[in-house]
């Protein structure tokens, strides 16, 4: 039995039908920030199948605890939640040692960011970011405050559903992915131009984390489950082919 982290080969061709197109005019900023030419398709070389390797000692002990990692003189305001899940590849194998980085608004929908001007207040005890490495089963978890929805300049009355931004770095640079997690039951999901940039209902469903009652911490925190799939690679090595028939 092989694990994905031990087997390296070319990645499966990316199925772009599960992703938003670069040009999605209802999300207005994409109009001038989308290439007009076709992407040039590359067969993977070492440049694509390799990628940065991260170590546990690069992260701090509170990096995956957004409730405590910026607490100054109290706890952040809002609903306490745990978010957890598995990072797997398209073959269903765990991606171990994947770097999962998250960032989000506070309970009022305000980001701790120089450029965020929204009227909702900054929470003095909430930074809004965290990171974690997956374990040998591809499992990760972090604890945070449920983010609030917020308005944004697209059309004049567009609102983002509550969401957590995710950045995932797997085994190979070609697996690099940024996405957003939404919360089950949020009525704003259906009208969000960023969500709707994805023209694939099943792919959208994959971004909506269900409430996971069994993972709740009794008398403390609710839990949401968010599983992530990165690109899979061929289980057989084509080392000679990739590296030149030595």
């Amino acid at each position: 039995m092989t694990r994905s982290s031990d087997v390296y080969g070319e990645f499966y061709q990316r199925d772009r039908s599960v992703h938003p197109p670069a040009y999605a005019p209802d999300y207005k900023t994409s109009v001038l920030r989308s290439p007009s030419n076709s992407l040039i398709s590359l067969q993977n070389s070492l440049s694509e199948i390799t990628g940065p390797v991260f170590r546990q000692d690069e992260l701090g002990p509170l990096d995956n605890d957004l409730i405590l990692n910026y607490a100054k003189d109290g706890l952040p305001i809002g609903e306490r939640i745990v978010v957890h899940g598995f990072v797997r590849d398209e073959n269903g194998r765990p991606v171990k040692n994947a770097l999962v980085e998250v960032w989000q608004a506070n309970a009022g929908g305000r980001y701790r960011h120089k450029k965020d001007q929204y009227i909702a207040p900054i929470d003095p005890n909430f930074g809004g970011c965290g990171r974690v490495l997956t374990d040998d089963n591809g499992y990760y978890f972090f604890r945070t405050i449920k983010p609030g929805p917020y308005p944004w300049r697209n059309r004049v009355n567009d609102w983002r559903p509550a969401h957590i931004h995710y950045s995932i770095s797997g085994n190979g640079f070609a697996q690099r992915l940024i996405t957003q997690m939404y919360f089950e039951g949020d009525p704003l999901i259906a009208t969000c131009p960023i969500v709707k940039s994805i023209n694939n209902e099943e792919a959208v469903r994959g971004l909506i984390a269900p409430l996971d009652r069994n993972a709740a911490i009794q008398l403390d925190s609710l839990a949401y489950r968010f599983d992530i799939v990165l690109r899979g690679s061929r289980a057989t090595l084509f080392e000679n082919h990739l590296q030149g028939g030595k």
Partner: protein
């Protein structure tokens, strides 16, 4: 009815949004939270190879630089080997070089930069050597799925001419969008690499 494979589907991409810095570069967002931050300096005191800076801007379809963009690079060391277990080329690893960096464009000027070393050549597919290059990944508000491209070097004329990836680009005029221009500034080697997301001189992006 044929049995279905049970492959999973890749999770859908979403834009990094305007506040990507909070999670990936909190200092740029304006606060200090992690003890260890990932940044744009790839070299340590012991890193082998020619020290270079890669610097440029990412420009949108109107000619305006993106001031909220985040870039990551991944490259081989000066000997031409990636610091990753899948790279089994018979070349030395460099303990003081991971080969990965992350940079944000400046909020006013839109300029990004990396401090690194010039990579060596890496063996490509079918025994064809690839010219020295750096792999680049770009995300920002308005970019729905990260853009992948490569940075090649203007002083590698012969290697570039034989590079299997550059040669895959049918339009010779577009190949030059992947060549960073070498300059020397006060004893420092700087490679200038502007990315044009759209419009005249649109950079070649890859589906890798």
């Amino acid at each position: 009815m044929v049995n279905q494979f049970n492959y999973l589907k890749e999770t859908a991409s979403q834009t990094a949004g305007p506040y990507v810095h909070i999670g990936l570069a909190p200092h740029q967002a304006g606060f200090d939270i992690f003890e260890n931050n990932f940044g744009n300096v790839l070299v340590g005191p012991g890193t082998k190879g020619e020290r270079i800076r890669i610097e440029g801007r990412v420009i949108d379809g109107s000619g305006t630089p993106l001031r909220d963009v985040l870039l990551e690079i991944w490259q081989a060391n000066a000997a031409g080997r990636y610091n990753h277990p899948a790279d089994k080329q018979d070349k030395p690893l460099d303990d003081d070089f991971r080969g990965w960096g992350r940079a944000c464009s400046n909020f006013e000027t839109g300029v990004y930069s990396f401090e690194t070393v010039k990579p060596g050549a890496v063996m490509g597919r079918n025994g064809r050597l690839m010219a020295p290059h750096v792999n680049l990944w770009i995300v920002a508000r308005g970019i729905n799925i990260g853009l992948n491209t490569r940075i090649y070097f203007s002083d590698e004329v012969d290697a570039n001419a034989k590079d299997p990836v550059l040669n895959l680009i049918e339009w010779e005029v577009r190949r030059k969008t992947l060549i960073a221009q070498r300059e020397e500034r006060g004893g420092e080697v700087v490679y200038r690499f502007d990315v044009h997301i759209q419009g005249d001189n649109e950079t070649v992006f890859f589906d890798i």
